[in-house]
Structures are given as C-alpha cells and as structure tokens.
C-alpha cells in the first residue's frame, strides 16, 4: 500500500468504521445503563432530586479544600491533561476544519503556537499521570491492564499529532495517516472502556446529586 492509499483508507473506510463503532457503541453503553431502570422513591422528599442532579453535574468538578489537598497530584495532572485535550482537539484550526466537513459547524481557533505549546504540556501531564499510577500504592493496586492500555490510546493521538504537525521522521502524509489511525483506535475503544466516563459521568453525577438532593444534601 502506498502512503497515499494508506491515508485515503484511514480517512475513508477506517474512519467510517470507527465512527459507526463509536456511535453505536456509545448508544449501546447508554442503553445498557438506562434499561436497568431505578425504583421510584416512596419516602417523602426533603429537597429536589432534579435540582440536586443538575447541581452535582457541575459542582462535582470542583473538589473541596480538604479533598484537594489529599489528592492534589491526581487532580492537577488530571485537569491539566483534560484541559489540554480540550484545547488541542477543539481549538486547533485543522481539527475545526475536519469537524466543519463532517458536522457542518465551526468556531474560531486558538493561535497554532499556543496549541503547540499546550500539546507539550498535555504530554507532560499524561506522563505524570502514568508515573503517578505506577508509583502511588492505591493506584498501582487498583490498576488493571485496561488502565494502562487506555492511557496509551489516549497519549498516542497527542504524540502522533505533535509529530505530524512538526513533520518529524516520516513523510507528512504517512504521519497524518498514523495520527488519524490512532484517533480511530481511541474511538473504537471509547464506548467499551473507562473512556466512556466522558459521557456516562453526566449520568452518574446526576444520580449522585439526585439521591442526595432528595434528602436535602448538596453532594
């Protein structure tokens, strides 16, 4: 396969397959959750479950002081790489062009040198995340193959994107193809691994807040 054929395949059939798996898989994951249902609460409510659910979706992103102090490395490295992913994925001009092609919507991009610097910071943060996972006794104890595999799938697009942008090593079309392929791998794994938290956390935070809010507690 020539480098052009590779790139066309990655941008064409592979992308379609990955998208289908991503969309169908995510819908299946959500359905698997919701179909289990939840028994209605017959106790007299003190507060509002709905208000609690909506509130916790937002407030759970902001830990209290004591919690922050105890888990500072986890929180800081986690937030940095999440923010970095947000910037590098959604505020990078070439990505916005792709989204425009596929979904028909677009928005202003950040200056590319800024995104470039963010990419480096994101990679550093992800490395810190891995080191922390390996060295911290609780994380080491909890972690399974999936945790490390998913980490790899997450950092791969960031690294291959950086490499592709800076045209290091291989011809640009091949580098871009590798980068797109790495994203497709991430998309395929997304609904079936802990990466699903990206959308299921809205459900879990909702339930948490609803259960507590019903009792009059802001969780």
């Amino acid at each position: 396969m020539t480098e052009t054929e590779f790139l066309l395949w990655v941008r064409g059939p592979a992308f379609q397959i990955a998208t289908v798996i991503f969309v169908v898989g995510s819908i299946v994951r959500i359905l698997e959750i919701m179909i289990l249902g939840r028994k209605p609460n017959l106790a007299e409510a003190r507060g509002s479950a709905v208000a609690g659910g909506l509130r916790t979706i937002i407030t759970r992103s902001w830990p209290d002081r004591g919690t922050f102090k105890r888990s500072a490395v986890t929180l800081v490295s986690g937030y940095v790489f999440h923010a970095g992913l947000f910037v590098t994925i959604l505020l990078f001009a070439p990505h916005i062009l792709v989204i425009d092609e596929v979904l028909g919507i677009s928005w202003p991009a950040l200056p590319t040198p800024l995104v470039d610097a963010t990419t480096v910071i994101t990679i550093i943060a992800l490395v810190v995340v891995l080191l922390h996972r390996i060295k911290d006794p609780v994380l080491r104890f909890l972690s399974r193959f999936q945790d490390y595999f998913v980490w790899f799938l997450t950092i791969l697009p960031v690294i291959t994107g950086y490499v592709a942008f800076h045209r290091i090593g291989l011809p640009p079309p091949t580098l871009i193809a590798i980068h797109i392929l790495s994203v497709e791998l991430l998309m395929i794994a997304f609904p079936f691994t802990k990466l699903a938290h990206a959308f299921t956390l809205f459900i879990s935070r909702w339930y948490n807040g609803a259960i507590a809010g019903y009792r009059g507690v802001n969780s």
């Binding site: 106790a43 609780v138 938290h197 909702w206 969780s219």
Partner: protein, 428 residues
C-alpha cells in the same frame, strides 16, 4: 426462607444492580480519590480499603451480566464467575472496613455513589452467607425479641419508671392520638437512659403531645446494616403498625444514626408504600420548637464545644443545620472541626461495625482520623447526636488518653431548659 448459598448471593447482586449502579461502574476511572476520603484507608494506608475496590465482586457481576463485551466474555468462558472464596475474602472489606459513612460518595469526581452500592452489595453478601456473626446474632434478636440487644419491653418499662421518678411526672405510653410516636435505640435504653428523661422534660415544657409504644419502641434496624431488606422491612413495619394504631402525626427517630436512615429514607421503599405519617429526627423536632419560640433555654455552656456529625444524620440524612441552630442556643464557645458538616469524618463505628467484634482493632485504628480532627480543635467537650458514635468516641478518646467528655445534644438542651418547675415543688 431458604438458607444462604452462593447462587442466592449472585442472584441478589444481579437484582440489586440498577441504572445508577451501572452508570457508576461505567464511569469509574480508577483515580483512587475515594481512598483518601475513607478513614479506613487514611488510618491504615492499606490500598485494599479503597472504597471502589470493596465493590469488585459486584462490579464483575455487572460487567458479566449487563454489558455486551462482559456477557460475551463470560459466555465463552473468558471471564470467570464470582466464587465463594472471593466473597469470603471480601467480607471484611464490605462489613468490617465500611460504615457506609458516605464520604467516598461526596468525593468521587465522576459522581459514583459508592455507599449506595455497598448497601446493595451487602444484600448479596448476606444472601450468600457472608455476613459477620455479630451482626447475624443482632439481627436474629431484632426479629425474634424486638431489639438487637434483646431488650424487652419490661426492661424499658423499668427504665421509664425510674425516669418518671427522676423527673417527677409520668411518661406517656401507648397514648392513642398523640402527635408524636417516639422510638428509642437499645443502646440508649441500656447505656444512656437519661435520653428518655431529657425528651420527656423538653416535651413537657414545650407542650408537645407524644407517646412511646410498648409494641414498637426499637428504632434501630439491623436489617439495613447486615443487608437483608426483607428483615429490614419487618422491623420498619412494626413501627409503622404502631404509628397507625396510635394514629400519630409523626414518628420521631432518636439519637441514633442508621435508625434515621432506616425509618426516614429506606422505610417506605422497604415496605413498598408511602407512610401516612411523617418521620422526623429528634433534632428536627427540637429545631422546629426553637423556630416556633416554644423551646426556651437558659444559661450557656462556656466550655469550648465542637460537634461530631453522625454520618447517617448529617451527610446521609440531611439534618446538619438543625444541630448547629440548637447548639447556638446553649453554647457561647462553639467551634467547628476542620472538615465539618456534610464533610465531617465518620466516628468509625457505624453501619454495623460496632456490632462486629472481629472489627474491633480496625475500629480503634480508624478512630485516629477523629482524633486528628479533635487535636486540631482542642475542645473542652464533644457534642454529638448518636448513641453509637458516643460509645465509639468515648472508647477512642480513652484509648488515646484524651480527656474530653462526650455529651448528647438533646441532653444538653434539656440541661438548659428554661422555666421548669418540679411538680413536687407545689406547696403542700
């Protein structure tokens, strides 16, 4: 009811898994933050006490039963079913090292309610025969005798008579049409019977119409601690029957943590129908009396006081403002602990842990978390509103050579009641 088996246990797991549970397991990213919220972990630094890890068998069942890849993997034998040996290994994690305090639930960044799931997991653990012996005994006594500690009504009657002597007026029992039905915990009846005198005096002074039921005086619910909803329902039903028979407007839950959770929040769901009466915690009643201007106190405690929030009342129950309102009435030197209110730390003995002799050593270790809070605040006395917390706090303080008296909030209010006249003071 047939005996416990692994199959019954796994079935219970399957039935317990609902949408919230599935969303929680789907969202967990193994960040480990729940560990730092759990006093069993913070005081031992043993990673096996990480809250989400305590749920591992339940998570496996979820994955194998309710996810596409999990179902496929278990069908072709790539994923092994949960074994009896695993449940044996998890018994100490689910019972000895968890009080269902709910702090992990408050801290998880993806919003997992781990406590909710532990409560569900205990259903399967009990059904498979993996509940601690101490709890099994207490539960059996609760069902057959009416109290987990075997306290029968004549014993309570004797305590009531003693109290009537002390306070100088009679305590209403089995009064039809009273506004409130007061329940009590066996711990209070046995160790802190002055609670009965305290509420009697407060209600007498504030003109509250109340009664105790000779048929249903026990507030505690071993069923929810051990995780057998059928038993929990039987225990709640007793109180419901008494409340309906006496035609009361509300049932009062005493100074006991899980009793409030059982009757207020789980009760109607256990028996499958809403109540025809309200349920309130004694602190809620007192605070309402305060707001209505009926509860009047005199004098203030000058010693430095702090408040230990019983988890099932504050964080899990929603009654965290009322104790502070009440304390402000009688304390001129009240300070909060670091990490307070709904983020306060558990005493370490709730959720069945104190009834579990096997957990004794661990229970004393985890008290160190409360000790750290108290070291930071250096109070003259520690106020709380749960008899079980009280015992644990007293034991922990003694073990750590700390001379801080532990006092009940309700009793403290009673101590400062204004305007009481002893009936025997009438001129003869």
């Amino acid at each position: 009811m047939s005996g416990p088996t692994l199959a019954r246990g796994l079935n219970a797991f399957k039935e317990q898994i609902d949408a919230p549970t599935a969303s929680f397991f789907s969202s967990c990213v193994h960040c480990g933050m729940c560990a730092e919220a759990c006093l069993f972990f913070t005081e031992t630094r043993d990673p096996k006490y990480t809250p989400i890890y305590k749920l591992e068998p339940l998570r496996k069942v979820w994955w194998q039963e309710y996810t596409f890849w999990g179902k496929l993997a278990s069908t072709v034998g790539l994923s092994k079913p949960v074994t009896d040996a695993e449940l044996t290994e998890w018994e100490t994690l689910v019972y000895d090292s968890c009080t269902m305090c709910g702090r992990c639930t408050m801290v998880c960044p993806v919003g997992n309610d781990i406590t909710y799931m532990i409560r569900k997991m205990r259903e399967g653990m009990a059904a498979s025969g993996h509940a601690p012996p101490g709890l099994i005994g207490a539960t059996q006594r609760a069902v057959t005798i009416g109290s987990p500690m075997g306290v029968k009504y004549p014993a309570l009657e004797a305590q009531i008579r003693h109290t009537e002597e002390e306070i100088g007026f009679s305590i209403p029992v089995d009064v039809v049409g009273a506004d409130y039905l007061c329940t009590l915990s066996s711990m209070e009846i046995m160790n802190f019977p002055e609670y009965i005198g305290a509420i009697a005096r407060i209600f007498h002074e504030t003109g509250v119409s109340w009664t105790i039921s000779s048929e249903a005086f026990e507030a505690t619910n071993s069923g929810i601690q051990i995780g057998v909803s059928e038993i929990a329902a039987v225990l709640v039903e007793r109180i419901v029957k008494a409340a309906e028979k006496l035609k009361v407007k509300a049932v009062i839950s005493p100074e006991c943590g899980h009793a409030y959770m059982a009757i207020r929040w789980e009760g109607p769901n256990l028996i499958g129908r809403p109540y025809s009466f309200k349920v309130v915690h004694i602190l809620e009643v007192l605070d309402e009396l305060r707001k209505a201007g009926k509860l009047r106190t005199t004098g203030k405690e000058s010693r430095r006081l702090t408040y230990h929030d019983p988890c099932q009342i504050s964080r899990r129950g929603g009654v965290y403002e009322q104790p502070r309102n009440l304390l402000k009435m009688v304390a001129e030197n009240f300070v909060e602990m670091p990490d307070t209110g709904i983020m306060n730390w558990c005493c370490g003995a709730g959720g069945g842990v104190s009834a579990n002799e096997r957990a004794e050593v661990l229970k004393m270790k985890d008290f160190k978390r409360k000790k750290a809070q108290l070291d930071a605040v250096a109070p003259d006395a520690l106020v709380t509103a749960c008899a079980n917390c009280r015992i644990q706090l007293e034991e922990g303080l003694e073990e750590n050579h700390m001379d801080i008296p532990v006092i009940s909030l309700t009793e403290t209010i009673a101590e400062h009641l204004a305007g009481e006249t002893h009936p025997e003071a009438r001129p003869s």
